[in-house]
């Protein structure tokens, strides 16, 4: 589908709301708010995972890397970076990063801050 309606637009942007403390206590029974840490990470995960198989494979990682890294790094080097990245994160040995592994490897990162924007304040 090539179109995005406003609802979809908002849903996506809602991922980036900063996490607020009082929200944490509120809604334990309802669905997790879109801007929870887990959902934020899931959003990022989906950006990597192009074929939607819930795993980030080496090729997908390579694609992302290629976009991010400067043009001066060669393909083999990128390949090694990708391999090492996977190796660092991969725990079940399938040479791909699953969502759980992704979350685990980013546990020390302050995702709440790095994946949040204040808009409409």
């Amino acid at each position: 589908e090539d179109q995005v309606n406003f609802r979809g637009f908002m849903r996506t942007l809602a991922h980036f709301r900063p996490i607020e403390d009082n929200e944490k206590s509120k809604d334990h029974n309802g669905p997790e708010p879109l801007n929870s840490r887990s959902n934020k990470l899931h959003f990022a995960f989906r950006l990597y995972d192009l074929d939607k198989d819930d795993k980030i494979s080496r090729d997908e990682l390579l694609q992302v890397l290629r976009m991010m890294v400067g043009v001066n790094i060669s393909d083999e080097q990128l390949g090694s970076i990708a391999d090492r990245t996977i190796q660092e994160a991969d725990q079940d040995g399938d040479s791909a990063i699953s969502f759980a592994e992704f979350v685990k490897v980013l546990e020390k990162v302050d995702v709440e801050q790095k994946m949040s924007i204040r808009f409409l304040h």
Partner: protein, 870 residues
């Protein structure tokens, strides 16, 4: 001999003379520094004490003691913290150090909060304190001797309310609160200098003019001067940062003085700002922050190390001296007069107003911040507002004629400073623990984090773009692009510019770290290979040998000092080079001694060191190679086939064809394949290799028949027809494998005997690690340096992006001795990597690094072994 003064002694020529007067000043300076440093050593002898009491306290107490001694002995206080000396010599190193190693990402992320606290907070503090004290005075609670009007109190308020960077650093360094908190308090302490300077000067001039003569325009001028001072100071800093970065771009041939530029220019920035009465602290801070990225990319690895350690040393010694002198200066009672009300009032007010100020500002700030600052943070921030030597120096600077109450102010300042440093310094650690403040967690950077954080940045910038919200990320992104396109090209050397990438850097460093730890473990294993060495003590006892130990021992006089790794290669005759290598590698040279380097202008690694390094490297490589896994990832065969045509095949060690040629080498031994590993950066620049130092010739011993298919060293490989030598009998290490030169992406035939798996990258990383100076020589434990901020100084500083090019030189000419195990080696056709600097072999992801049972004997073993067989 110092020029002597005075009439010659009438008794005739003397053998020795007492020339105290001539050397007095420098001697005293040196003596004090020595005393302070010795005291530091003594303090750190007791861990219990230093874990409870911050060092600054101890130093102040020491100063008090020493001052008392001096007073008793000389009956007058001799040594003081002179403001001039303080501002000109003691303060700049500390500020430079903080600026240079400031984690700039964190700093700019929180710049809003920092600026708010620095400007608004300081203003509030000084006015509130001044007025409150004045009120106290008017209420008659103070000693009538205190003759001070509103202006005097405001003046005093301004100097006492500034949070001091030296004290904050000294105390927070030991407390390790989380980074956001630290950067806010510390940033505030640096940036409030502008406000302090302006307020101080303005009020000083008001006091001089007398309250009656102040006009409205003076107030306006005061406000205007604030902007001028702060922005001007920043501009000066930026200007010098730019100059510095530009200059370092061209220092390729004068590496030895690179560090000098950094210190000089930063100091000149400080002085220039002082000269025009702008904020010098701001100037130096921004100079350091802004120049760092470009300077670090441009200068050589050694210079980087030099700069880092010199800065730290200077800053640390300045800090020590400052605190000690604070103590000493307090003893001079002639300079101060006590007034209880003033002292107590000041103490109370500064604490009160700081807390109030912090709370109010945080309320406002939290509306704008992504992550609000909670109560605990606020408590720590208000408690962490320490005053220090800057306030003291400023108060000493007051003119007694104009400010009649100076002595009272001095006394008060001393008490305040002591109180904050000692009492607050002592109690902040328990407070932080009690409040369960989030501490900083120093964990090793992982590639994943780096990569994903970059991704997040991009994602956010994209979202902001979509939304049309020109927020923080948007501007940051714009700045990055601007920097990439214009600034970096202008300020960074071509070679550095091309390779600049953060993700890459992290990856590189991680590799090196792995390689070192790998070898460190491996070192234990190989020591079991008992080879009898002709004249070396038995190594079997060295079960603990790690690489670093190896390096430090100088067994037979040969010191593999990897810190002098700076091999400069030039294109030379491959044959000669190869031959030299073979000889050097195979022959045991007892009693090596290093030639002294006579040149003051150029530290050239002398040949001996280079050779040792090469030999070491070869042997280590061989060791590593022995446990390669069977299946190598050969995917990148295509890439590696870049041969170094481009220029840099640097032959190793064409250095000194010194007499080694004359040895009798039995050529009929098996051929060995010489692999030239040269690291090069760019094609164009051979001299640039200094950076990349990682080169060594790697000997691939033993090509067996099956293996010796000349893998066509493709084209550019210069086949070296020279005779090669194979170590006569297979050592433990040699029994196995493949010599995979370096990243042999190419056909690496790994022996199937290997059961141990080594990540292919180790090889490369190992190579690279060899070239990284400190990384090998310094114990890996040095991970958390004193100023450990996550980004700031990684243990392994940016390694030279060494490329190991492996040039395979094939000697096709010799027969291999039959005792070479058939399974033998595969020829590693590591084709030389072209201009590719970093050749990295993709890790075989599936392979876990099992038992690193890697033999890693001292390189020398192999060498000697071979020699013995020759």
């Amino acid at each position: 001999p110092v020029a002597t003064s005075g009439p010659p002694s009438p008794a005739g020529a003397e053998l020795l003379r007492w020339q105290w007067r001539e050397v007095q000043a420098p001697c005293l300076v040196a003596a004090w520094i020595l005393v302070a440093s010795l005291a530091k050593i003594v303090f750190h002898l007791s861990r219990k004490v230093t874990s409870v009491v911050p060092e600054s306290c101890l130093l102040i107490l020491l100063g008090l003691g020493l001052g008392g001694i001096v007073l008793a002995v000389a009956k007058k206080a001799e040594y003081q913290l002179e403001p001039n000396m303080f501002f000109l010599f003691l303060l700049p190193p500390i500020v430079l150090d903080s600026g240079y190693f400031m984690p700039s990402r964190l700093f700019f992320d929180n710049i809003g909060a920092i600026l708010t606290y620095a400007v608004v907070g300081t203003l509030w503090n000084s006015f509130a304190t001044g007025i409150a004290l004045w009120g106290l005075h008017r209420a008659g609670l103070m000693d009538p001797g205190v003759e001070a009007g509103l202006m005097d109190f405001l003046l005093f308020g301004s100097l006492i309310s500034a949070v001091d960077p030296v004290a904050v650093l000294a105390v927070f360094e030991e407390v390790h609160v989380n980074e956001t908190l630290f950067i806010i308090v510390f940033g505030e302490s640096l940036l409030n200098d502008a406000v302090t300077v302006v307020l101080y000067k303005v009020f000083n001039s008001f006091v001089e003019l007398g309250p009656a003569h102040i006009r409205a325009t003076d107030y306006v001028k005061g406000v205007a001067s604030f902007f001028l001072v702060s922005l001007g100071g920043t501009a000066v800093g930026l200007l010098f940062a730019f100059l510095l970065a530009l200059i370092t771009r061209f220092t390729k041939r004068v590496r030895i003085i690179e560090p000098l530029f950094i210190f000089l220019l930063a100091y000149v920035a400080y002085l220039a700002a002082e000269m025009v009465s702008l904020s010098s602290i701001l100037a130096v801070t921004f100079c350091g922050i802004c120049c760092k990225k470009y300077v670090e990319a441009n200068i050589s690895q050694k210079s980087r190390t030099t700069v880092k350690y010199t800065m730290k040393t200077l800053a640390s010694s300045s800090e020590t001296i400052i605190f000690m002198f604070l103590g000493i200066s307090a003893v001079d009672t002639s300079k101060w007069t006590w007034d209880t009300a003033l002292v107590l009032g000041t103490l109370f007010f500064i604490l009160l107003f700081r807390a109030v100020g912090v709370v109010l500002q945080t309320c406002v700030l939290n509306h704008f911040r992504l992550i609000p600052l909670d109560r605990i943070d606020q408590v720590v921030m208000s408690y962490g507002g320490l005053r220090g030597a800057v306030a003291f120096a400023l108060v000493i600077l007051l003119d007694r004629e104009k400010v009649k109450a100076k002595d009272y102010f001095v006394a008060t300042t001393i008490v305040v400073v002591f109180f904050t440093v000692i009492v607050q310094g002592l109690t902040i650690k328990p407070l932080v623990t009690w409040l369960k403040v989030k501490r900083s967690d120093h964990h090793k950077p992982t590639l994943n984090e780096e990569l994903h954080e970059h991704a997040f940045d991009h994602i956010l910038a994209a979202v902001e773009d979509i939304v049309g919200h020109h927020g923080y990320h948007y501007w940051r992104d714009k700045w990055e692009q601007f920097d990439k396109k214009y600034l970096s090209q202008l300020l960074m050397r071509k070679s550095a510019y091309r390779l600049r990438d953060e993700i890459w850097d992290v990856y590189y460093k991680l590799n090196i770290r792995d390689a070192i730890s790998f070898v460190d473990q491996g070192g234990r294993v190989l020591s079991a290979a008992k080879l009898a060495l002709p004249s070396m003590p038995s190594r079997t006892s060295m079960s603990e040998s790690s690489v670093t130990n190896l390096l430090r021992e100088s067994g037979s006089g040969a010191c593999l000092d990897l810190q002098v790794i700076d091999t400069v290669r030039s294109r030379r005759d491959k044959e000669d080079a190869a031959m030299h290598h073979v000889l050097r590698g195979s022959l045991y040279k007892p009693r090596r001694r290093y030639k002294a380097s006579y040149s003051r202008h150029f530290i050239s690694p002398d040949n001996q060191e280079r050779q040792d390094k090469e030999i070491f490297r070869q042997n280590m490589k061989r060791r590593l190679e022995t446990f390669k896994s069977t299946k190598h990832n050969v995917c990148s065969s295509k890439s590696k086939a870049r041969l170094k045509e481009k220029g840099k095949k640097k032959a190793m060690s064409n250095k000194a064809p010194n007499g080694k040629m004359h040895r009798n080498v039995p050529w009929q031994e098996a051929a060995s394949v010489l692999v030239m590993v040269s690291s090069e950066e760019e094609e164009s620049d051979s001299s640039e290799t200094e950076k990349e130092d990682d080169e060594g010739i790697v000997f691939i011993a033993r090509a067996t028949d099956e293996v010796l298919q000349e893998k066509a060293t493709p084209g550019s490989l210069d086949v070296c027809p020279s005779p090669c030598i194979i170590p006569p009998s297979p050592t433990l290490a040699e029994k196995e494998l493949p010599w995979k030169g370096d990243q042999a992406d190419l056909a690496v035939y790994v022996s199937s005997e290997t059961t141990k798996i080594v990540p292919v990258d180790m090889q490369k990383a190992w190579n690279q690690s060899i070239s990284s100076l400190e990384s090998i020589a310094s114990p890996p434990g040095v991970e958390s340096g004193p100023q450990h901020r996550r980004f700031a100084c990684p243990v392994l500083e940016e390694q030279p992006q060494s490329a190991s090019q492996v040039t395979l030189e094939h000697s096709s000419c010799f027969q291999f001795p039959s005792h070479v195990p058939a399974s033998g080696r595969s020829q590693s056709d590591s084709s030389p990597d072209g201009a590719e600097q970093q050749e990295l072999q993709p890790l075989m992801a599936t392979e876990e690094q099992q038992g690193r049972v890697l033999p890693t004997t001292e390189p020398r073993w192999l060498m000697f072994n071979r020699a013995s067989h020759l």
